[in-house]
Subunit: 171 residues, 2 copies
Amino acid sequence: MQELDHGTRQEIDSIEREVLAVFVDGVRVLGLPPSIGEIYGLLFISQSPLSLDDLVKRLKISKGSASQGLRTLKSLGAVRETNGNGNGNGERRTYYEPAVELKRLVGGFIREQIRPHLDSGRHKIKRLGDLANGESDPDRRKFLLERTDRLDHWIRNGGRVLPIIQRILGQ
Amino acid sequence: MQELDHGTRQEIDSIEREVLAVFVDGVRVLGLPPSIGEIYGLLFISQSPLSLDDLVKRLKISKGSASQGLRTLKSLGAVRETNGNGNGNGERRTYYEPAVELKRLVGGFIREQIRPHLDSGRHKIKRLGDLANGESDPDRRKFLLERTDRLDHWIRNGGRVLPIIQRILGQ
DNA sequence: GTATTTGTTCAAATTTTATTGAACAAACCG
DNA sequence: CGGTTTGTTCAATAAAATTTGAACAAATAC
């Protein structure tokens, strides 16, 4: 029996190749590994959801990579598992489809990759302020407090800008 | 002769160590190497400008690293060369001080690291649209055009948001 | 129950990136 | 001029991140 298209078609055609390249470049800017760009990219140009096994076969990546990549993408809210898995009858494999709303992608990235850094930064900087206060030389202390204060402003401004970005990208 | 403070003090004290750690983490988020975080961090808590040689001695990094790191930081507009080099009389070494205005730092980062990617992305996506138009299957073509169109919107929105970020962070 | 399919985990291997250090160039000095 | 200082470049090395693949677990089928 000839398989219906379910990502089971083996080869990556030239459009697909270009789309993958775009996403590999794209995720690199965000500090994510190439495999994640490939996985998301392939889902993005597939008309039907793909299983982990489809990704392994078509991208020629290991099951381990595909599994970990999907986990990251799920945590970012960039892929969804489909319930209605596409081909109809009793099927226990999980199929994945991409989230394509920019708002959602940006929101997930901010939540998972930016907020945590801002938060931990805030803590470290608070601690820096304490250390600076303990400096005995008054001149040096003044300088250090001025600099830690500046760092604190940076972080605050970063925090302020995020919701605005999200609002703008939410159309 | 006992050297006046010019970064020539050898050791890194505990506050300095913490500040360096903050910056190393910070630049990592931006996709820059640790040495750059250390260099900028040390300049940031130094009360007087430092020379390349000061950075090498105090951070215990190679001259090559320091030179390349400074080049990157200069290109980002994150450090300036000082003319009045601090210690007064005829001195041919170059001294560096950090740019500490968030606006300037963000502006440099956007200009050097973000805009180029957006621009090259725009081109690649334009090309994708052409490829999609060449697709023979009408159903597939419709789908591909829809997706490339979506990519195009993403990039456009990204471009729109940058000046707004800059404006907000410019105080 | 055993066999099979689907997916995860994690140590080892690979690939990529960052750093070193030595050779080189340029500028100044005497 | 030759000697010294300052800084850059880039091939080799070290370090870090990514990917693989095999062992394992969980779920279904028979």
